[in-house]
Structure formats: structure tokens, C-alpha cells
């Protein structure tokens, strides 16, 4: 137990939390945007997977991590737009279409990898480029904080900067406010002249962009190869992080960090001769528990709101 506590309160552990939170935070921010736009994106998982695969394959082919990143993002956005087209233009059920996108991503990536390498498991035979790790001058020399904040992968910084950008976009820009209006009440938004379909295309497109960054981080930051189904449910954990974070950017970030901590803990505990599978369960169990907690809190709030509403009604009536 002492050992475990020591592990948790070390700078390396906190640095690890930031590292493993990244591929949850990025898709969660994307999912947040689409969720607030009224189009829940269940396909985050598949979008990440496609981007991870495309990133590695293009970076191997061109020997450029930047072209890999670009390819991953383009593929991710493309997948999101396919989903948007089927839902918004062809009126397909959003959830079923997203499930189809996930199946397409899982099958399609393995199909392509097998075709190119003859190996179904992973592309470890190919040497991929990696997104750069950034040493921040001055900060890197500060004790404790230095090893945490400095030396992370570029995309980890992107993820945390994205929290600010998403918050500004959603609450401080015209497009963001229109987008939330569409999610709140599409009929009302339409009546004041907002193009609902365009806003929802934007919402899904942005969610694809952010999820794709998360996918590229997994295959070209976290490791240097693509493995089948390497997202391992992160796209769905990201969805849970949105709910748990109360559908706000900052809340989502905190929730993603909590899930990241659970996962980092499971990695650390793995070194302590606790059975591997039980430790691996931690993030999934944490997600389940978080879902229940979120739901309970929501219900309490609803009850409180109702009570307040009744109180005001009685005061109005008696006053």
C-alpha cells in the first residue's frame, strides 16, 4: 500500500496521467462540441482508429510525421462527414450509422494493414515517425513541475490548449453560440434564421477533427505503430467523460484527467504483481461508476429544480 501511495504522489505519475489523459481528452472535447450541437457522436472510437491508422501509414510512406498528422486528421474529418451526410442528408439513425462507422473503421483498418504488411496484429514491422516531444526552456529546470509540464508530446499540449479554444469557441463566438442554440432547440434556432444542418455539419466535423488528433496521438505519440483496435474503448470513455464533466469544456477536462489517472494507476499497479486483467478493468469500472454518479447528480438537480419551481409558483400565487 505504501508503495502504491508513493507511486501516486510522484512527479512521474502525474506526468503519466497527462500522457494517458490526452487520447481521452481530445475525443471528449470533440464529442462535447457535437453533443452540444445536438448530434451525439458515438463514432469517436472509429474516427480515432481510422486517424491512427492513416497517420502511421502515411508517415511511413512519406517519412514525415507532419504529413502523417495531416492524413490522420483528413481521414478523421472525412469519416465524421460521412456520418453527418448519412444522418443529416439521408436521415439515417445517428446511433446506428455511428455504429456502422465504428465497424467500418475496425474492419477497414485491419483490412488495409493486412493488405500492406501481411500482418493483422499491428504495423510494428514498419517504422513510423513520431510527433515531437517538447522541452520547454526555463520550466524544464524547475523541480517537480519541470518533469510534469515539460517534455510532453506536442499533441498533449495541443489537447490542453484545445480545452481553452473549445471553451472560447462555444461561449464567446457567434458560431459557437449558434451551435449550442441548435443543440438546445433546433426549431427555435431555425425560426431565428440559423442554418441547423450547417451547424450540425460543423459540430460533427469539429468532433472528427479533435477525435482524429487523439487517434494520431495514440499511434504516433504514445507509441510508434498502429495496432488493431488500439483505441480500446477510449472513444466511449471519452463520451462518459463528457457526461461526467457536466457538458462543459473544463468539467470534461477534469473528467478526462480522472479517467487518465485511473488508467495510469492501472499501469503502475501492473508492476506490483497484482493480476494484470483486474488492473486493466480499472478504467472501465471507473467509467461505469462515473456514469451512475453523473446520473444520480442529474436526478438530484432535476428534483431540486422542480422543488424550486413549485416554491416560486406558490409565492407567486400567495403574493
Amino acid at each position: 500500500m505504501d508503495q502504491a501511495l508513493q507511486v501516486i504522489f510522484s512527479a512521474t505519475f502525474i506526468a503519466a496521467v497527462l500522457r494517458v489523459s490526452t487520447p481521452i481528452l481530445l475525443p471528449a472535447l470533440g464529442g462535447l462540441i457535437s453533443d452540444l450541437g445536438g448530434v451525439v457522436n458515438i463514432a469517436l472510437e472509429g474516427i480515432m482508429l481510422t486517424a491512427a491508422c492513416a497517420g502511421v501509414l502515411i508517415s511511413v510512406a512519406t517519412q514525415s510525421e507532419w504529413l502523417g498528422l495531416l492524413a490522420g486528421v483528413v481521414m478523421g474529418v472525412l469519416m465524421a462527414l460521412v456520418l453527418a451526410f448519412f444522418h443529416l442528408n439521408l436521415k439515417a439513425d445517428l446511433i446506428l450509422a455511428a455504429i456502422a462507422i465504428n465497424i467500418l473503421a475496425s474492419g477497414g483498418t485491419i483490412f488495409v494493414v493486412f493488405l500492406l504488411t501481411g500482418d493483422k496484429g499491428s504495423t510494428s514491422a514498419l517504422v513510423s515517425k513520431q510527433m515531437p516531444f517538447v522541452e520547454i526552456p526555463i520550466i524544464k529546470d524547475i523541480p517537480v513541475i519541470g518533469p510534469i509540464v515539460s517534455g510532453q508530446n506536442l499533441l498533449t499540449y495541443v489537447a490542453f490548449i484545445a480545452v481553452v479554444l473549445v471553451a472560447v469557441f462555444l461561449y464567446r463566438t457567434r458560431a459557437g453560440i449558434h451551435l449550442r442554440a441548435v443543440g438546445e432547440n433546433p426549431e427555435a434556432a431555425r425560426s431565428v434564421g440559423i442554418n441547423v444542418r450547417a451547424q450540425q455539419y460543423l459540430a460533427l466535423g469539429l468532433s472528427g477533427l479533435l477525435a482524429a488528433l487523439g487517434g494520431v496521438y495514440l499511434s504516433m505519440g504514445y507509441v510508434k505503430f498502429f495496432a488493431r483496435d488500439m483505441t480500446a474503448g477510449r472513444g466511449f470513455i471519452a463520451l462518459a467523460a463528457i457526461f461526467l464533466g457536466g457538458k462543459t469544456p473544463w468539467g470534461t477536462m477534469i473528467a478526462a484527467l480522472v479517467f487518465g489517472a485511473a488508467e495510469a494507476l492501472s499501469v503502475q499497479l501492473g508492476n506490483l504483481r497484482i493480476p494484470n486483467q483486474l488492473v486493466q478493468m480499472i478504467p472501465y469500472v471507473a467509467t461505469l461508476v462515473a456514469l451512475v454518479i453523473y446520473a444520480l447528480v442529474q436526478r438530484q438537480r432535476a428534483i431540486a429544480r422542480q422543488r424550486k419551481f413549485r416554491q416560486t409558483q406558490t409565492t407567486v400565487a400567495s403574493g
Binding site: I42, F86, N89, L90, K91, A92, D93, I95, L96, A97, I99, A100, I101, N102, I103, L104, S106, G107, G108, I110, F111, F114, L115, K120, G233, F236, I237, L239, A240, F243, P275, Q277, L278, Q280, M281, Y284, V285, T287, L288, L291, V292, Y294, A295, L296, Q298, R299
Partner: protein, 374 residues
């Protein structure tokens, strides 16, 4: 169908009935045509993909579409896989009818396999009981694994897609843990449990008929019974009515006095109990022991089977046979043409996308509507 109501005072009952029946037959025909068209289009997409990647699509498709019937043991694999998929399709069709996206079949199968195996390996039982007891226990386990996300959805409004998928991951890891640490006998070379007792094994057609039909077994009967049972449940019971009403319009169902929460939670749980039968099929019929990843890769297969059948239990055997034919053909294609069997997943995704695209389906329907003389 928006048929114009007859306004003439002389209302001919018999003629009207005949007209309604004719109309029904026609819609059913169109549904079948839309489905067949979708399948053809999806296969065409697969064909084009192979053409683009430079594989020989003729060779690949001849093994994909001809493979399962080329040898009796392959046909056996088809029957075996179809049994699983039909049961899975039935399992998914119940929550789907209530418009609940329960994706927990995988976890339910793993849990059921585990429970059935523990009883079938360690508890000595007389014949018949040796099959029925593991089956009943596994179904109860599946029921409970389904009930949990069902309750979370119905009473807490927790997203069922996230909860079922997380639960799947937990159950699969638990299965892996128990198989490694408990069920594999010490000193065993490979990761697998002991064989189940002989009385629990579902007889295989290979021994029954003397033809090599691989591991296909009597669980086919389970699938047949379930088809009728699920049809009766959905169409001939109050619960089935509740489920269908919720699926059509949840608010209406609630105002109509249906306990929607109870019905929704139950739809998850009953789906779980049925998925458990698929898990039992894998343990008592196919593998006759626990092996790693016993139900791997079966997570979403029930969805496409149920969707193709439009959640109609009586059509699920047909779509299940069709889709497992593709799956088995895909494996054979991989061996013979070096084209990954995952192309079948791509075809599956295309089928789901096309079938749910209302605009496309309606377009086809509107084009095939005859001009009515009114």
C-alpha cells in the same frame, strides 16, 4: 402507407379487406426488395474495394460466395456460426424493438459461457439435467448482466451504449483472469479449461449423421425454439405490446399507462438471457470447454442480423443464415485469395448504413408505388 380512406357510402368490407391484404403483401415485397438491393449494393462495394486494392475480385468473390458449400465441414461451420448469429440477432431484436441500443451481447455471452462451463465441468449431473441446468444458470447470468445497464438506462437515464460497452470490457477481462488463474488446470501447456462432462455436451451432427459437419450441433434446436418464443413474446404478450409501443413512441406509451421503465429494463435483461444461450452454444456445443476469447468478434454481429430482418423474429433465421454465410465465406476467402476476412465487416457496415438511410429507402419505395385510381 398513406392510403386515402374510401369516402363512398357503400363501404364494401370484403373488398376493403382484400385491398388491405394486397397492400400489405406489396409493402412486404418492397421491404424484401429493398433488403436484397441493399445486400447487392454492399457486395458491389466490397467488389470495388478489392478491385481498387488490386486483388483479384473474381477469385476472392468465388471463394467468398461459393466457399461455405464447397466442403461438408465448411457447411458445418456455416451451420455452427448461423446458430450463434440467429440467437444473437434474436437477442438484439428485443431491446431494438423498444429503440434501446443494448450492445452488451458480447459480455453476456462471455459471462454465460463461464457460468455454463463451471457447472458442466464441476457439478456431476444426470443426463439432460446436465444440459438444462447449465443452460438455465447461464440464462440467469445473462439476464442479470443485461439487467444492470437496463436499470441504469431506465431509472437513471445513463447512456446504454457507453454502459454496455464498458461492461463488456469488464466481463471479458474477468473471463480472461478466471481462465488464466482458476479454470486452466495447473501444469497445463495451453490456456484452456478441462473438457465439460460428456453428459453436458450437445450432440454434434457429425456423429449423429455420419457426415463431417464439423462442430455444428443440436443447439440449432435452441435457435429454432427461440425464434418462435421471441416471436410469441413480441407479438402475443402484453410485454411485447409494451415494447413495441415504447419503440413507436415512448411518451405515448407512458401516457397510455405503460410502466416504461420496467419494460425498458426488462427488454435489456431478456435480450441478455437470450444472448446467454449463444454463449451456452459455444461452450456445450462448439468448444466443449473454455478457450481464450471464446466469443470474440461477435460483438456487433447480432445488430446487422436483426436490422436486415427489420427486427422481425421470423425473418431472423434467414438473415442469420445469410450473414454467417458471408462470415464463413470471408474466412475461406482469406485462406484462398489472401484477402482479409475483414472485408466482410466493411460490407456489414455498408449494409447498416444503407438500411438505416431513410431517404434512400423511401425513395425506392416511392418509385415502386403504383398509380392508384381514386
Amino acid at each position: 402507407m398513406q392510403a386515402t380512406l374510401p369516402t363512398t357510402p357503400s363501404f364494401d368490407r370484403a373488398a376493403e379487406r382484400a385491398r388491405v391484404q394486397r397492400e400489405r403483401r406489396r409493402t412486404a415485397m418492397i421491404d424484401v426488395l429493398v433488403t436484397l438491393g441493399t445486400i447487392a449494393l454492399a457486395l458491389l462495394v466490397g467488389f470495388l474495394v478489392m478491385l481498387i486494392v488490386g486483388k483479384d475480385p473474381i477469385l476472392a468473390y468465388s471463394s467468398l460466395l461459393g466457399g461455405p458449400l464447397s466442403r461438408t465441414n465448411r457447411t458445418g461451420r456455416w451451420i455452427e456460426d448461423a446458430t450463434t448469429l440467429i440467437i444473437l440477432g434474436l437477442s438484439v431484436s428485443i431491446p431494438f424493438r423498444a429503440r434501446q441500443f443494448s450492445l452488451g451481447a458480447q459480455g453476456q455471452m462471455f459471462m454465460a459461457a463461464m457460468i455454463a462451463a463451471v457447472i458442466a465441468i464441476y457439478v456431476p449431473m444426470p443426463p439432460l439435467v446436465a444440459v438444462l441446468l447449465p443452460l438455465a444458470a447461464a440464462m440467469l447470468a445473462g439476464f442479470l448482466v443485461g439487467l444492470l445497464p437496463g436499470l441504469m438506462k431506465a431509472y437513471l437515464n445513463a447512456n446504454e451504449i457507453v454502459s454496455t460497452l464498458m461492461l463488456n470490457a469488464v466481463v471479458v477481462l474477468l473471463y480472461d483472469f478466471l481462465l488464466t488463474n482458476v479454470f486452466t488446470p495447473p501444469g497445463s501447456q495451453s490456456l484452456r479449461s478441462e473438457a465439460i462432462q460428456a453428459g453436458s455436451m450437445l450432440a454434434r451432427f457429425t456423429t449423429l449423421l455420419g457426415v463431417n459437419l464439423g462442430r455444428a450441433n443440436l443447439a440449432v434446436l435452441f435457435a429454432a425454439i427461440l425464434v418462435v418464443a421471441v416471436w410469441a413474446l413480441l407479438n402475443r404478450t402484453p410485454f411485447g405490446y409494451e415494447i413495441r409501443t415504447i419503440g413507436a413512441n415512448e411518451k405515448f406509451a407512458r401516457y397510455g399507462g405503460i410502466n416504461t421503465r420496467r419494460a425498458i429494463a426488462l427488454s435489456f435483461a431478456i435480450g441478455g438471457a437470450i444472448a446467454a444461450v449463444a454463449g451456452v452454444h459455444l461452450v456445450l456445443g462448439v468448444h466443449q470447454r473454455l478457450i481464450p476469447g471464446i466469443a470474440a468478434g461477435l460483438g456487433f454481429e447480432g445488430i446487422v442480423v436483426a436490422l436486415l430482418a427489420r427486427n422481425n423474429p421470423l425473418l431472423i433465421p434467414i438473415t442469420g443464415l445469410f450473414y454467417s454465410y458471408l462470415r464463413v465465406g470471408g474466412d475461406i476467402m482469406e485462406q484462398e485469395a489472401a484477402v482479409g476476412t475483414e472485408i466482410v465487416l466493411v460490407i456489414q457496415a455498408v449494409i447498416i448504413l444503407l438500411l438505416t438511410a431513410q431517404v434512400l429507402v423511401n425513395y425506392v419505395k416511392s418509385r415502386s408505388r403504383p398509380v392508384r385510381e381514386t
